[in-house]
Subunit: 296 residues, 2 copies
DNA sequence: GGTAGGTCATAGCCTTGGGCTATGAGTACG
DNA sequence: CGTACTCATAGCCCAAGGCTATGACCTACC
């Protein structure tokens, strides 16, 4: 069994690479030098690779070490995103800047924006409420949150908005599925007539799909699942084609675990908007977050 | 201190979400049910969020739990990529399929391809040699490896090749840097005249840059560093603009930790090619890997 | 050349986190 | 009402990983 590495050791490795010595990295990690030495040795045994060139004047990464450190940095970045976002969800009361977002934005985009906000304004405590699109608007209007992020084209009365991106629902299949080799675009009607793996009714993704299918003859779903990862899992297992937010399957498509099927004749694009109370000027942290989110 | 979560617990959470019960997830993880219970409780305390809805007929993820599980899946995917690639580097002798790649391809693309290859052909043991572009060609010609991946436009005599992607060197700066707000493209001459943070001489990235600057008046580098992450770190700290492979800064640009500066009048694009010995037909695993890498 | 100051590794001790088993409480169903 | 499934709690126990102390090694500098 490929047992997973532990994040502290990966962080330690990256730090050694940057600081040039085990001892200094240990200090940063708040542990004693021998502990760091042991941890790295352990990691080397686990991976079966020499990671450090130890000399009496410090340690530098070997060629293998550099690569591992590079991959480790990616893992750590994802882990920090998780912590940051969880933090924001927890502090959703008693925060300096309160934000509401619908699921897709909250899961895939907000954590990144918050990471950058934290870089620029380390003292701002952000609170994040994750609710459906309608509730986002309500909370902004009620001034329970300063800024909201919603999917969909319509903006309720009384809200100012700015488009901060677009989300495209995509059709994905397992690499072995016949559609993975399609060269011609799939037509909306054919998609609608196919039993699909989709999110449960009530989710934003499902609603968008239902609207797009409104005028088409549609088959019942093959599976209805309550989370994006469940849907992805089913699609990877080859159950049936799945329809999901492009953001949700970005990683899987990039790594080839899922294949996107070209699509035509149906509109599955929705814009993502930042919304705030019309006429109300945004305080500094909110304005910064908006600027970050709006970056092209 | 935001202490990092541990990957086993994250995996456990994802499994609970998929399997619907703590006990079953525990079984998959190879631990007893109470241990799983404790671990999840620990994770909940650490994040300060309720993750599971426990009922006498199973456990389901709460709304917060679904989000955390989504982020966790990303972290786990990155971790698996690391393990997979490390594995391939270790088995570089005594493997069924031996591959050589230059640094950039090896670090950012090969792990993904190998992950997909492993999905399709679980029994193939891959060996990966990471060397410079010239050595890749040499090893392919010497039949030490079956397939190679190189950067650059020229393909040595005796090799067949296929373009599998392009790598663009990009200019990145910290979000606070003046260039981050540039609207007009940066001209090559201005870039060359600026002290930059770059990779050390001898690296592929540096060579590409030197070639592109050949006919220009160029300033000495501000810093020369031996790894992509060191260069990124210096750029993020605001030392100076940095020039790096687009793949290397993908994540940082997406999350806003670095900003890409638009560039004109200079060609920093290089194609990435798969190469193999001309006339030699590829064995099944090599052909599969080539197909995966060639996917648009 | 000797000393000071830096590196890392090894040895041995000790704490604690996380594993296990056993058990109890709660719900569903026949 | 027993059976069968859930999860939580209690108490025990081991080993991983922390610490300190020490030694080997190299460099720099007096």
């Amino acid at each position: 069994m490929s047992t997973l590495p532990d994040l502290d050791s990966l962080k330690l490795l990256v730090d050694v690479g940057e600081l040039g010595s085990l001892g200094q990295a240990a200090k940063v990690a708040g542990i004693a030098q021998p502990s760091a030495s042991k941890r790295i040795a352990h990691l080397e045994r686990r991976l079966g690779l020499p990671l450090l060139e130890r000399t009496p004047r410090g340690s530098t990464l070997t060629a293998e070490g550099k690569m591992v450190a590079g991959w480790a940095a990616q893992v750590l970045a994802a882990a920090h995103e998780l912590m940051r976002a969880a933090q924001a969800v927890r502090h959703s009361e008693a925060a300096h800047l309160r934000v509401a977002a619908s699921m897709t934005v909250a899961e895939y985009l907000v954590p990144r924006w918050l990471g950058e906000l934290q870089n620029r304004e380390p003292d701002v405590q952000v609170g994040l409420d994750v609710v459906n699109s309608a509730d986002v608007a309500a909370r902004v209007l009620a001034e329970e949150v300063e800024l909201g992020f919603v999917e969909g084209p319509s903006v309720p009365e009384g809200l100012a908005s700015r488009v901060v991106g677009t989300d495209r629902l995509v059709v994905v299949v397992a690499p072995g599925h016949a559609w993975a080799r399609r060269r011609t675009a799939l037509m909306g009607a054919e998609l609608a007539a196919t039993p699909l793996v989709v999110r449960e009714p009530g989710s934003g993704t499902r609603e968008t799909l239902d609207v797009a299918f409104r005028s088409l003859h549609r088959a019942s779903p093959r599976l209805e699942l309550g989370s994006n990862s469940a849907v992805k899992g089913a699609a990877q297992a080859g159950a049936a084609p799945a329809v999901l937010s492009g953001y949700a399957v970005e990683a899987e498509v990039a790594t080839g675990r899922l294949v996107e099927v070209p699509l035509a004749g149906i509109n599955l694009v929705r814009s993502l908007r930042a919304v705030w109370r019309r006429g109300r000027s945004l305080a500094a942290p909110a304005a910064t977050l908006l600027a970050i989110a709006s970056r092209p």
